[in-house]
Amino acid sequence: MSTTETTASGIGPVEGAPGYSVENPAPVIEAPRKRTKKTPKSTRGNFEMYGWLFMRLSGVVLVVLVLGHLLIQLVLDGGVSKVGFAFVAGRWASPWWQVWDLLMLWLAMLHGCNGLRTVINDYAERANTRLWLKALLYTATVWTILLGTLVIFTFDPNIR
């Protein structure tokens, strides 16, 4: 092939490079990270994306649940001074507040657990430290969620 051949695009010959044209198209080069049938399946899944989404969704719900909780417990009706067994019994007599507290417990614990998981991943540099801190975190979270759930479901106003 002559290197002095002019191409339709008007681009002159470049040191030994063939001039491409409609008749002589350049080879197609695949994008480096393009997913093809030959690309192995990702083994990671979308866990972190769902975690990110959960933080935002649970966060919006928790703003309502927790600020409502603070308003009832610390502001209305004399603030914290009215809180006691009788007050709890009165509130948990209503399924509305049982569901409110149950939802708040689960969402806040999972939201906080995922937040602390991120903090551990960020600051604990040794793999073993991360493993043990997260094992402790998950154990404490599961126990606290179960304990709280048990308390809400088995609450007995006539315990004494």
């Binding site: 966060g59 919006v60 927790v66 502001v75 603030g79 709890v88 602390l116 903090v119 304990l147 709280g148």
Partner: protein, 126 residues
């Protein structure tokens, strides 16, 4: 210390730091709070005895701090959601942070009497 150790600084980083610190504090309180509430399954007396500590002046000040942490985390969390999901969120993140701080200050002033009033009456007499 080498220069540039402090990552960027300014509003973006400090709001992130504050969000982290308040989040961890709230989570640790949550463990304690579930445990103290679990005492309603033990006996009314056990529960009332623990709740009595929540009514002491010193713990009232801690409660005020807890309210401060929760309010900041809640308001700044809404800002983070706006930055992530609102098309113009990133552009207005500074303005939103100062709105968060302004609203937080107002709410904290509003919370002084309801949260600390009881403690003030105990300390100074009513």
């Amino acid at each position: 210390m080498p220069a540039g150790t402090l990552y960027r600084g300014r509003e973006g980083m400090w709001s992130w730091v504050a969000h982290r610190v308040t989040g961890v504090l709230i989570f640790f309180f949550l463990f304690v709070h579930v445990l103290d509430t679990a005492l309603v399954r033990v006996s009314p007396e056990a529960y009332d005895r623990v709740v009595a500590t929540y009514k002491t002046p010193v713990v009232a000040v801690l409660e005020y701090g807890l309210v401060a942490a929760i309010l900041f985390h809640a308001l700044n969390g809404l800002r983070v959601i706006a930055v992530d999901f609102w098309a113009k969120g990133a552009r207005y993140q500074k303005q939103m942070l100062w709105s968060v701080v302004g609203l937080w200050v107002l709410l904290m002033i509003g919370a002084i009497y309801p949260v600390l009033g009881h403690a003030a009456r105990v300390v100074f007499g009513s």
